[in-house]
Amino acid sequence: MKRIFIVLLGLSLSLFAAIEKEQIAPIMKHKIQSVTDLLQQENISKSILSGQIFEEFDPVFDFDLMARLSLGTAQWRVLSGAEQKEFTYHFVARLKRSFIEKLELYSNEVAVIKDAKDVVVGSSTRVFLLTELISKEANYQVDYKFYDAKGRGWLIYDVDILGVSIVQTYRSQFEGFLKDNPFEALIGWLQEDLEP
């Protein structure tokens, strides 16, 4: 318990530090290592564990942007400010729930940062942090995509797992869903226990 408290304290201090481009790799390395340590702890309840992991990762994720991108700009603009907030809230909750569910898939993999490369998209530059989860049988590629959030530093706006983008997956889903259903139904759907 004490240990957890110390970790939480340490994490909360790093919460307000914006990441510079050059720091992406080292900071992420540190964060990934911390999360790996957490995961390897025995006898820790899922809710506490996930809470700690989010503490570690929340500062580097731009969840608002992820929500907005997942919905698509065109759709996003149709919503009122309150609706946008509501959507973001439920979207992030769902994203996290889905993440927690996948936690139990973890079985002693070790994460290794392979490379951080600059990628030019249109007029902007992004940084893709290429990492690999190494297990006994195989390696899984996980890419964290950072963009320059100006005053807030570099933040993650999407993650590719084995080449499949999380944001893109949601985009395809929401687009299909909103063709036949109103926005309220989408919120209901996000709240559902069932996975999208």
Binding site: L65, G72, A138, T169, S172, Q173, D180, E195
Partner: protein, 817 residues
């Protein structure tokens, strides 16, 4: 003109016989070109849109033709020797050219042995052939996985299926497409017309070659199966095998019953006439006629199919009828005019029978001609076949009968049979004394017939074509009931095309994601998966449907792998990206075409299910899926053999029903023309319709469905029925002219033409009763129905027709002035 021809035949009998023999001999050369085809392609409608669609589906998903082997080993299914035998059997079968792949319990992916998270599983999916597989888990998976239960293994785990995927016939599809394209041209040039002709020729050659390949492959497969008999019982099934076996049955029946029929006919003829010449002559004429018409068929390249396999029997009926009318007329004249020369007797026989025989044949041709209006190639062919062959019979019968009898010395006919069996006497008495009873009974029969006919069902169940004691039946039953059904039926769901995402502010993020939008792995949305599951669950719940395989199967398995939770889109995308190609081709590609935004539900209908109503089933599925898709933007369409056969049957039924009315009108016109009186024509039609209605009524009440084989019975009964009516009326008119006494004319007609009608029917009824011992159910039905039609039509012509003539006196009571 005609009389001159008859004179020539009698004057030069020897030359006439030689000429006919030469002609028949020349045509006989082409009998070797006669082909029997029972492939599913012969049973399709000419321009069935569903056929093109089914072909397109086959190309898109690779779900082409397949055969199934049901293997019931003596040992346990997973015992080493069983698996060993399975392995060797699969290897031997795979080596055959016609077989593209063999799917069995050995090589299907085991996704739950043990249950692993998806991302781990896709890294290395085991099969039964892997060393580290836990057999107990594998058995559980086979018995309970939606992928395999009641499909790859039976519920009692005693029987397993080997699915033999046949190499797709791409050449045929290509030729058909080319043909369609050429046919669609509005103003084809002469070069294009030539090309179309050539393409049609190529299609035929290709089909003939394919059929032989198919037959040989099935023989090879059976030979391989025989080697494995020590390990357990093996049955072959699948639509292609059924088609191939049908050919075998049809060939056997045509040959065996053709010969038996001739033998029985000879016995009957001997019993009736007691003179060798009247046995040999009809038989010779029958043989010549059959030889000539099969030669013509070979020459034109008309194929005998399951539907037209009865044509030889039919031709025999018509030919016997023509010859017997001639024989009876000749005997009648010979008994009456003992001093007249043989040549003169023969000439008068031919002359007096020319008109009624000609009209009888023309009306029969009209009956069979009705088949030409159907839209089904084999039925159209049957119409042409019959029309040509009975025309041939007419010519051959008159020439040979005249020439050969003219060559033979005159002999007094033996008439013991007439005196012993006095059916016609008895009928004449009934007409006189029980007239009203006949009319009442006819009315009752008509009502019974009409009410029964309204209960008629159109069904075609291949399994019911075979007796339950036959190997083919047993095999079909096992595959049908234990391994997921026989007749393929596909349901295709096409999701509405995505509109291009309208990007208002094409900022860099939008551009980045819009670019990815079209990537395949993002296709799996929850909305689509809900639809897939909904449809899959619905199809699975239908009692008529055995196996259902679709993307939904994978979703159910995924749920098991995911601890009872649905796979989310993300996991599905991973699965799509990571699944090894060899398994993808087995569990994903046949059911999903992202390119076409479409999913396929591949089902098999349990053909042997009691009371299966195919048309109603398809209608119900269409209606229900419509309702299931109501709120969702997706469309559906059914395809597969089930749909094609059903289209064919329904079209056949409609065309038969609609043309029946037309044929009745044509017949009315002909009777009117022949007898110069509308009243007579109406009487003739009525006395034909009533006996025919009893046939359909009986089928309706007995729950005997009209199928590909029995549906032609309408045309057949018209063809047979009108003959008796025409001959009788023709004779009655002659007899009436003597004394204008209707009753006396009736009695005299019964004593003369009545015999001919009675003998013809008697001979044919006796001959056709042999068909009842066939192993092939359609042959049995055909025999029974023919017998029934003949008996009814005879009674109609000897009881109802004369009674109506006596009641209505259509020719008046005065000689025309």
């Amino acid at each position: 003109m005609l009389l001159r021809l008859f004179r020539a035949i009698i004057t030069y009998p020897f030359i006439s016989v030689v000429l006919v023999t030469l002609c028949v001999g020349f045509l006989g050369i082409y009998t070797s070109h006669l082909q029997i085809d029972a492939s599913s392609k012969t049973l399709m409608l000419e321009d069935d849109e569903d056929l093109l669609f089914t072909n397109a589906v086959g190309e898109r998903y690779g779900g082409g033709d397949f055969l199934v082997i049901a293997f019931k080993p003596h040992e346990d299914l997973l015992a080493p020797q069983t698996l060993n035998a399975l392995k060797n059997l699969s290897d031997e079968l795979s080596a055959l050219n016609r077989i593209a792949s063999v799917v069995s319990i050995l090589n299907v992916p085991l996704l739950q042995s043990p249950v692993l998270p998806v991302r781990e599983l896709v890294k290395r999916i085991p099969t039964l052939e892997d060393e580290r597989v836990d057999y107990a888990l594998a058995k559980e998976e086979f018995l309970h996985s939606p992928l395999y239960k009641d499909n790859l293994v039976s519920a009692d785990f005693t029987t397993t299926a080997l699915l033999l995927n046949l190499t797709p016939d791409l050449r045929y599809t290509q030729l058909e497409k080319h043909k369609k394209a050429l046919e669609a041209l509005e103003h084809p040039t002469s070069v294009q017309r030539q090309e179309l002709k050539q393409t049609l020729q190529n299609i035929k050659f290709h089909r003939d070659a394919q059929r032989e390949i198919e037959h040989q492959s099935i023989k090879q497969i059976r030979a391989i199966m025989e080697d494995y008999a020590p390990y357990g019982s093996l049955f072959l099934g699948g639509v292609n095998m059924i088609a191939d076996d049908l050919i075998t049955y049809v060939k056997h029946d045509v040959l065996f019953y053709g010969v038996s029929l001739l033998l029985l006919l000879s016995l009957t003829l001997w019993a009736i006439f007691r003179q060798l010449r009247f046995v040999a002559l009809p038989l010779l004429i029958c043989l010549y006629s059959v030889l000539a018409s099969t030669g013509i068929l070979g020459y034109f390249g008309w194929e005998v199919t399951v539907i037209s396999s009865n044509f030889i029997s039919l031709q025999l009926i018509i030919t016997v009828s023509i010859v017997l009318h001639l024989v009876v007329r000749y005997r009648e004249l010979a008994l009456r005019y003992t001093k007249t020369s043989q040549q003169r007797l023969v000439f008068v026989t031919l002359a007096s029978k020319a008109t009624p025989s000609f009209f009888a044949i023309i009306t029969t041709i009209a009956g069979f001609g009705s088949l030409i209006f159907s839209n089904i190639r084999p039925i159209i062919t049957l119409g042409w076949m019959m029309s040509v062959s009975i025309g041939t019979s007419l010519v051959i019968a008159f020439v040979l009968f005249g020439a050969i009898l003219a060559l033979l010395p005159k002999k007094r006919p033996v008439s013991t049979f007439e005196t012993r069996f006095a059916l016609t006497h008895w009928c004449a008495n009934l007409v006189k004394t029980r007239g009203n009873a006949i009319l009442l009974l006819s009315g009752f029969i008509f009502l019974l017939g009409v009410s029964g006919a309204s209960r008629l069902e159109v069904e075609n169940s291949f399994i019911n074509y075979f007796k339950s004691s036959t190997e083919i039946y047993k095999g079909m039953e096992i595959i049908d009931q234990k391994l997921g059904g026989t007749t393929p039926l596909d349901v295709l769901i096409t999701f509405t095309q995505k509109e291009e995402l309208e990007i208002e502010a094409l900022d860099d993020f939008e551009a980045e994601f819009a670019q990815k939008q079209s990537k395949e792995e993002y296709w799996f949305s929850a909305r689509k998966m809900q639809i897939v599951e909904r449809i899959h669950t619905y199809l699975d719940a239908q009692p008529e449907i055995g196996s259902v395989q679709s993307l939904g199967t994978l979703l159910s398995v995924g749920k098991i792998l995911n601890e009872g939770k649905q796979l989310d889109s993300f996991q599905l995308a991973l699965l799509y990206n990571e699944l090894p190609p060899r398994f993808r081709g087995l569990i994903l590609d046949p059911y999903l075409s992202i390119e076409h935004n479409q999913v396929r539900f591949s089902t098999r209908v349990i053909d042997s299910q009691e009371g299966l109503r195919r048309d109603a089933l398809l209608a119900r599925i269409n209606h229900d899926i419509d309702a299931l898709l109501e709120d969702d933007t997706a469309t559906h369409r059914l395809s597969g053999l089930m749909v094609l056969y059903n289209n064919m049957l329904q079209s056949l039924y409609e065309s038969q029903i609609t043309t029946l009315g037309f044929v009745a009108l044509v017949l009315l016109g002909m009777f009117w023309l022949l007898f110069g009186s509308l009243k007579v024509a109406l009487i003739a039609i009525v006395s034909n319709i009533i006996p025919m209605s009893i046939v359909f009524g009986l089928m309706g009440w007995a729950g005997l469905p009209l199928d590909m084989m029995t549906i032609t019975i309408a045309a057949i009964s018209i063809g047979i029925g009108v003959d008796d009516t025409i001959h009788y009326l023709h004779r009655f008119r002659e007899e009436l002219a003597h004394d204008w006494n209707y009753e006396a004319a009736m009695e005299r007609s019964h004593q003369s033409i009545g015999y001919a009608m009675y003998y013809t029917s008697f001979a044919i009824i006796l001959g056709f009763s042999i068909l009842v011992v066939s192993n092939f159910i359609p042959t049995i039905y055909f025999g029974l129905l023919t017998v029934l039609v003949m008996a009814m039509v005879l009674l109609g012509a000897l009881l109802l027709l004369p009674r109506l003539l006596i009641v209505f006196r259509p020719w008046g009571t005065q000689p025309y002035m």
